[in-house]
Point group: C2
Chain length 154, copies 2
């Protein structure tokens, strides 16, 4: 691949990251959330209480990031951290009522953002998008080895 095309792609990914995050930030701001925090709330809403290590895995970010995010969301009253009975090292994170309500609002915003994002694209392309983006992500993913175990069917 020549540099022109390579740069077009890398730059496009970089700009999409910046703008999508900025747009998310402006939508989440009225709720008192910063981008990244919504992912944590949604994960808890989807899969129930879990320990921080699991959150780290689910969110795709490192444990120190989870420590800070949980601390802020806890200060905001949206989540609660309780010691795990079976493992004194771990702490179980769960949504509070406030957090559950907030997650519902986030879901609304999330749909609006997704629709806004793909506006003007043919439905066929929109349908393929998540799979394509996942392929790109896996290709550059340095966390997992190379194949999570052959479960690549989307």
């Amino acid at each position: 691949m020549d540099f022109e095309h390579a740069d077009a792609l890398n730059q496009a990914i970089r700009l999409l990251s910046l703008r999508h995050r900025a747009r998310a930030a402006s939508l989440l701001a009225p709720l008192g959330l910063h981008p990244g925090q919504e992912a944590l709330l949604l994960e808890l809403a989807r899969n129930g209480p879990m320990i921080q290590a699991q959150l780290s895995e689910a969110l795709g970010c490192e444990p120190p990031s989870v420590t800070l995010m949980t601390r802020k969301l806890e200060a905001g009253g949206h989540i609660r951290r309780a010691p795990a009975p079976s493992d004194k090292r771990a702490s179980i994170v769960e949504l509070t009522d406030s957090g559950r309500a907030l997650a519902e609002q986030v879901k609304q915003l999330w749909c609006a953002l997704a629709e806004e994002t793909v506006e003007g694209l043919p439905a066929e392309t929109v349908a393929e998008l998540p799979g394509i983006l996942k392929t790109l992500t896996d290709n550059v993913d340095t966390r997992r080895p190379r194949h999570p175990g052959g479960a690549g069917t989307v």
Copy 2:
């Protein structure tokens, strides 16, 4: 659009951002660069010296970010800042010889990264990708109004 699809899309964009940036970071680290800085070098390599306001526009980030990035790249000896003769407020940023050499190395990495990123995708999809990503970006771009002026042909 239901939440499932919306979340799949938003999450995919978020994860791609994280992983692509992380991969870029690991490739740029040996050159002593952090992700984001390569964009500044490449922009200067492509369009020659320019003032920081133009860099801000080209990179898609805010002036304070440009201030810090230029400061660090200048400390590294990769760029030089000179007062603009026609405008005492502005400072012209240009590559040093070291910066030019570094930009060439970055170009190599950039091609490798792009190839790695699209690995396994059909050529047809790869060809469409930059346009698709640009559409997504424009859709959520809060900087430009809505249409830059009708120059939407890609």
